[in-house]
Symmetry: C2
Subunit: 338 residues, 2 copies
Amino acid sequence: MRRDDKIILAHGSGGKLTRSLVSETFLKKFTHPALAELDDAARVRIGSDRICFTTDSYVVKPLFFPGGDIGTLAVYGTVNDLAVMGAEPLYISCGFIVEEGLELSLLDRIADSMAEACRIANVSIVTGDTKVVESGSADQLFINTTGVGLLPKGREFGIERIVPGNRVIVSGTIGDHAIAVLAAREDLGLKLDDLTTDCAPVNGLVRKVIDRFDGVKFMRDPTRGGLATVLCEIAESGRFSVHIWDEEIPVHREVKGICEILGFDPLYLANEGKVVMIVDGKIADEVCDVLRSDPLGVNAAVIGEIRADNPGDVVLHTVIGGSRLIKMLAGDQLPRIC
Amino acid sequence: MRRDDKIILAHGSGGKLTRSLVSETFLKKFTHPALAELDDAARVRIGSDRICFTTDSYVVKPLFFPGGDIGTLAVYGTVNDLAVMGAEPLYISCGFIVEEGLELSLLDRIADSMAEACRIANVSIVTGDTKVVESGSADQLFINTTGVGLLPKGREFGIERIVPGNRVIVSGTIGDHAIAVLAAREDLGLKLDDLTTDCAPVNGLVRKVIDRFDGVKFMRDPTRGGLATVLCEIAESGRFSVHIWDEEIPVHREVKGICEILGFDPLYLANEGKVVMIVDGKIADEVCDVLRSDPLGVNAAVIGEIRADNPGDVVLHTVIGGSRLIKMLAGDQLPRIC
């Protein structure tokens, strides 16, 4: 990264350039060890308790899309970042940046969505801030939500716990959110039959699994950058490879169709109500059964395994018996998806 | 507020319209009692501890101004919101919304400022997020910082503790930040001799006072809306009036000069390193001495008192012996000041 470079959209993609910005700019200056973990949320001690603490800004375009809006997204996104760390999400802060001229009725509807999302996810918005900028200085509305959750004793998940023989589980179809938002960008003329965003709080789903099983090694919600990016980040530890089977990966019929038309790869598409879990091989099928018993996990599947060969690689095995390496994206398939 | 209304800049001013937006839209939907307090930070319980939790988005324009930049502002602003609640600021989250095309070197300088500000305020950035939007969809850079701090047992400040006979203290000159940012808006052609933003972390200053004295009733940092808005919010409780003396209020010579030229009232101008304290009348002078012994409080002054007459009023007594009522601003003197 040269110092005369400029920020491009891919710096916000969650992929390779986001990584380089974070490691070459932020991690060199902000040196707290909790940040360096680069998890979905920081694990820190406060008083006699351990909490998880996570932040996300939402710039999704358009504000409303099939099955949700920027408000639901902002609440569930932050809830999910806490949940996959094993924390119990409790409190949410909410910072609005509003463009002058936005209709109050829109803000009202979005606040309604947030209130309803909080009720469903069992969290509370306890503090907030509203800034207004001149017309043309922001695009309608951006929302930051930051969350804190209590991390119970003994809840430790992390890439360092993953070993060969572990299995890879995804809790449902991938790419639904990205395609639902894409379809809402009217200029594309895409029409959906029954696909909506998967935007949902996974804290209940996650809890069903971690309360019952000891062998969960690692969890993450595959948002920006999708499933592929999560698996690449896991493999980057260099201690093992990740193998996944194309025909096992659940993809909604309409996502598959639109991806074929537009040349997108569902592996890289954002999800907002899914969990990737790496679990002990022995419990993988049972975990999947528990996930499938929940409405949010009906399409859960064991999609791959951790191996000792070729450490660092993520290998996709295709239906016809071939295989290809999965890499982090350098560019951005779909900006402003969350 | 009619439902066909639109957001205007004054909704972000911190004054009357911000209040109406918060009470008529957000407080009706988000019903957690900690939010309804409308303090600078929410007081909530987590595990066996009490924490304070606060959020602010920064949209200041321009990004750099005499004595600081959006990065210092973002860290100190959040530190100060925790400090005035009596909490010990500990962890900060940082969400960047970046406009495509921003020079990386600018982001680099701002991250340097944030790291330095964290060092000075003794807090850590432990989690972050970066979103990039297309050129024209944001104005260079917006930063959200959200902070958590530990609230020690017995630390209880609040408007409900204020009684007639209490005194009003301000920790230094008012309006410095607003005028420093205004001067940096080059098109105005304002030149400053020695005025800079007062942007600073007040946690050390506050602690010197609250560790020593029991009689501190209430504290707030007078940011957007300035000293006047804080005093109006206090008086709104309707149990007492607030009287302040014009000649006692510390105002920097250059702030006074520019306010006279441009017709601004320093009482409504934003500060970013000041505290308003309401304290027991008996300790007011001693508290002031402690504040003055700190570099951040050298201009601290007792500027007024709480009285039982005309409850709800904020009365400014002028040098020539007159008086006028101070009201919350309906409009916005200076948008995008923080």
